[in-house]
């Protein structure tokens, strides 16, 4: 039972905006739909961009990956601004509490030296990688065709600079509120042999002119890093008495699992397009074939270096994961050479 409140009812003249009625029928739309669908201009552009006059201001030809209807892709998380920031506010708050807990209980002080070294040398330099990913997704947010994809890229770009800050905060805590660990990590990123393949990878991905190839490329590394940093080493850290690692890694690890949702949905949309699936599959196959071996080398170098600090069998585990990733793309229908 519930009590019945009398209210003034005035019948609305229309349930929502025309373009949503045309797509989804004569019914009220969600806030995700109203705030996203068909928002990007598609016609009657006034001037060609001076930085790329061969294209329009918004142009599907900024990428070889295309959708006949860009709104055949929808963010499965239905993120528009408000639910996005609400969710991430909770994530960062939870992370902050964990970090306070780790600091208050001096958990790093009780972490085995080798694991502390491993965090400093293998995890903290990733803040630079994440910062590179921010740039890559911000670029994609500008040049993607369609507001649903662009919105996911906008949020992903912001997520990545957020990840860079989370990892940096771990570094500051590990360095006992000094910049010592961060400075060493930056030196590793710039100079240590184990980091050079990954740094080269992200620098090259950033100059890739096709935004979608860039997205596919960093996702290959992300899949492998997720396995290495947020699954394998997380598990081994608990066994090895480095619970602090796991406590902190869980937050970014949870984020990795969540961001897969929109990427996997986008991949499916590209490959299910009624007209362009074939061309997309060809571009996709070429991108994965070109970048997967480099991703395997880049993350493999980190895994090998991790094994020299704490031997957890990371390199061997990663090799198996590379084969699995290749199989995942093949299962989507790609030809990966």
């Amino acid at each position: 039972m519930q009590y019945e409140l009398k209210t003034q009812i005035i019948e609305p003249l229309r349930p929502t905006f025309d373009h949503l009625v045309a797509r989804y029928g004569n019914k009220p739309a969600t806030r995700y739909q109203e705030g996203t669908i068909d928002l990007q201009p598609t016609e009657n552009f006034h001037y060609r961009p001076t930085y790329s006059p061969e294209y329009e201001l918004y142009d599907p030809n900024y990428s070889a990956f295309k959708l006949t209807d860009p709104y055949s892709f929808l963010d499965p998380r239905q993120y528009y601004y408000t639910p996005y920031v609400t969710n991430r506010a909770q994530m960062h708050e939870a992370f902050g509490k964990t970090l306070d807990y780790v600091a208050d209980h001096n958990l790093f002080g009780r972490t085995p030296e080798a694991w502390k070294r491993l965090i400093g040398e293998i995890v903290i330099p990733l803040r630079h990688y994440e910062a590179g990913c921010q740039m890559l997704f911000s670029g994609a947010a500008r040049f993607a065709w369609g507001a649903t994809i662009a919105q996911c890229c906008t949020f992903e770009g912001f997520d990545r600079i957020g990840n860079a800050q989370l990892i940096s905060r771990v570094g500051i805590t590990l360095g006992e509120q000094t910049a010592g660990v961060l400075n060493a990590a930056k030196q590793s990123w710039m100079e240590a042999p184990a980091w050079q393949p990954l740094r080269r990878y992200i620098e090259e991905a950033l100059v890739e002119p096709d935004w979608a190839v860039g997205v596919v490329a960093v996702d290959l590394v992300d899949k492998l890093l997720d396995t290495l940093i947020y699954r394998h080493l997380d598990e081994e850290a608990i066994v090895g008495g480095a619970g602090a690692y796991s406590l902190l890694a869980q937050h970014v690890g949870t984020w990795y699992a969540e961001h897969r949702k929109w990427l996997d949905t986008l991949y499916k949309a590209w490959l299910a397009d009624p007209e362009l699936a074939g061309a997309n599959a060809a571009a996709f196959s070429a991108a994965v074939s070109a970048w997967l071996p480099k991703a395997a080398d880049a993350v493999g170098a980190l895994a090998q270096h991790a094994d020299t600090i704490v031997d957890t069998g990371a390199a061997a585990g990663l090799e198996a994961r590379v084969a699995q990733v290749k199989a995942e793309y093949e299962a989507l229908g790609l030809t990966v050479s």
């Binding site: 961009p49 601004y81 960062h92 957020g162 006992e176």
Partner: protein, 527 residues
């Protein structure tokens, strides 16, 4: 003296910590060149020697950003939901007020969306992590504004006309090409010019003239949701204003050679933005049932006092003078809104909004706000149109207006100093003839003719047959208009529904004399 047994730790200060989180994550590439990584920051001629000199006064980190913004949105959406549930739209001053919001949703909201996309471009393409992060925060803010504006106005769209097709209208409707071409101009420029055009000129120099009047109009006319949105966006906007000011100072401080380039942009973008404000001047003076302040007053306060007397003396230190065109804008403040509304009155059969002769009370207000211009120059025009309307001959202009090639406003402006003489300027480029509304639009064209010959001029496109067909009804169908979107306000769909709904709601104590359901029905027949 005793020594501490543990080695003293040099802890990070707040500023160092902020720098570690936002600046130190950057690195200089070595596997690709800096030119490859940032290919767009040299071709405009701007020289940056030290990107680390970019100063961000807000010291915002990502976690703090999420926390503030999530909290603000929770409050905003609570207001939107409550207003919708309680049929708050019936508490507006008058349904005619929503004409202002039709302009806003079709003219401004799509620009917010485009700002989201292009500040992302800056967040990718600037060489320095400081401006990249500032641009990235602004990019997501702009997405917030586009979406919260749509969600705010969505409830009105359910009950009133002119908003149902706003995104398509923005891309197609003749007068909306004024804001669209303005923003396309900025988006198609290089990253530094965009920063000056939008970051500085729009967000700082003109924001109190371009954006704020809508929010103030809302608060005066019972539009609680839009007013709440306005307050909710205020802290974002103050960050954007700070970015705009930092942007121009940063460019000016980096190299003396930047000064003349920036000056040209300040000149251009003042005038481009000022011409967009023609629509806002009309909205402020003629379209708010309860006016906030006149355009003249607004221009004097927000531009002459705050910018000319406040900002430009500071910029003079860097060698920047007030923009060209300022003198003309100051002179035009007496005339602008009257000229524009007079034109819209005659073309509202082709707009997504309605117009009417200003009421006696409204004309009295205009006369007091414009003692030197209204009665002398504009009241006679309204008297003439009023007489025609009273004789059953409500006037609509039967043809299409000529547009300025640069600002795309119909050629309705007069010579600087003479409100009775229409201004027309021309240029030839590659054997073609182009028209301009003013010396300053002509100068903008002559500086970059290759750009402005590309303009998608709505009237020209109609003549070319690119807008749905040769007749006005064909074009209006292509715009996606529906009954009630356009024309005379009195007797219009919104006007009639308003009377009907108020009769229904106000009848709860047994009927009020002021509400006549029959009157609404009769007005409906007359439409």
């Amino acid at each position: 003296m005793t020594t501490n047994p543990t080695k003293p730790v040099k802890k990070l200060s707040m500023q160092q910590r902020y720098s570690a989180l936002t600046r130190d994550i950057d690195w200089t590439p070595s596997y690709v060149t800096e030119d490859q990584l940032y290919p767009h920051t040299t071709y405009e001629g701007i020289k940056i020697h030290d990107w680390s000199k970019w100063d961000d006064p807000f010291r915002l980190t990502v976690d703090a950003y999420y926390r503030y913004q999530a909290e603000k949105d929770k409050r905003l959406y609570a207001v939107l939901d409550g207003f919708a549930q309680g049929q708050g739209h019936l508490t507006l001053s008058d349904p005619a007020y929503l004409n202002a919001m039709k302009i806003f949703l079709g003219g401004v909201t799509p620009l917010e969306y485009q700002a989201n996309r292009h500040f992302s471009y800056l967040a990718r393409h600037f060489n320095g992590p400081g401006p990249r992060f500032a641009a990235q925060c602004q990019s997501v803010d702009e997405l917030r504004h586009a979406q919260t504006e749509i969600h705010t106005l969505s409830n009105y769209n359910k009950y009133y006309s002119g908003m149902h097709n706003f995104a398509k209208m923005h891309d197609r409707v003749w007068y909306l090409s004024v804001p669209k071409s303005y923003f396309d101009d900025a988006l198609s420029a290089g990253p530094f010019e965009f920063l000056i055009a939008i970051g500085f000129s729009f967000e700082y120099l003109l924001t109190n003239l371009l954006f704020v009047p809508f929010m103030s109009g809302a608060s005066f006319n019972g539009d609680l949701p839009t007013m709440t949105f306005g307050f909710s966006a205020q802290s974002d906007e103050s960050r954007h204003m700070t970015l705009g000011l930092e942007a121009i100072k940063f460019l000016l401080e980096q190299d003396e050679a930047n000064v003349p380039i920036v000056q040209e942009w300040v000149d251009k973008w003042f005038w481009r933005g000022y011409r967009v404000t023609a629509i806002i001047a009309m909205m402020l003076d003629y379209m708010l049932p309860r006016p906030v302040m006149s355009w003249k007053e607004s221009f004097e306060l927000y531009f002459e006092q705050q910018m000319l007397n406040g900002l430009f003396p500071d910029l003079a230190y860097y060698g920047i003078r007030p923009p060209k065109g300022v003198e003309q804008a100051i002179w035009e403040k007496e005339h602008l809104s009257h000229l524009v509304y007079h034109t819209f009155y005659q073309f509202s059969h082709a707009a997504n909004l309605t117009t009417s002769i200003p009421t006696k009370e409204h004309q009295a207000w205009l006369a007091s706000a414009y003692p030197d211009a209204f009665e002398q120059f504009y009241k006679p025009k309204w008297d003439k149109l009023e007489k025609m309307a009273a004789e059953g001959n409500r006037y609509f202009y039967p043809g299409l207006p000529q547009l300025c090639q640069v600002c795309q406003v119909p050629m309705l402006f007069t010579e600087h100093g003479d409100p009775t003489k229409l201004c027309q300027r021309h240029s030839e480029f590659k054997g073609e003839h182009f028209n301009f509304c003013s010396d300053h639009c002509k100068e903008i064209f002559d500086r970059e003719p290759e750009k402005y010959v590309q303009a998608w001029l709505p009237v020209h496109q109609i003549y070319l047959g690119n807008c749905g067909g040769p007749t006005i009804p064909d074009v209006l169908a292509w715009y996606g208009y529906a009954e009630g979107d356009s024309g005379e306000m009195l007797g219009n769909v919104d006007h009639n529904n308003w009377k009907k709904w108020h009769a229904q709601v106000d009848d709860s104590v047994g009927g009020r004399e002021s509400v006549e359901v029959g009157g609404a029905a009769e007005a409906g027949k007359g439409a």
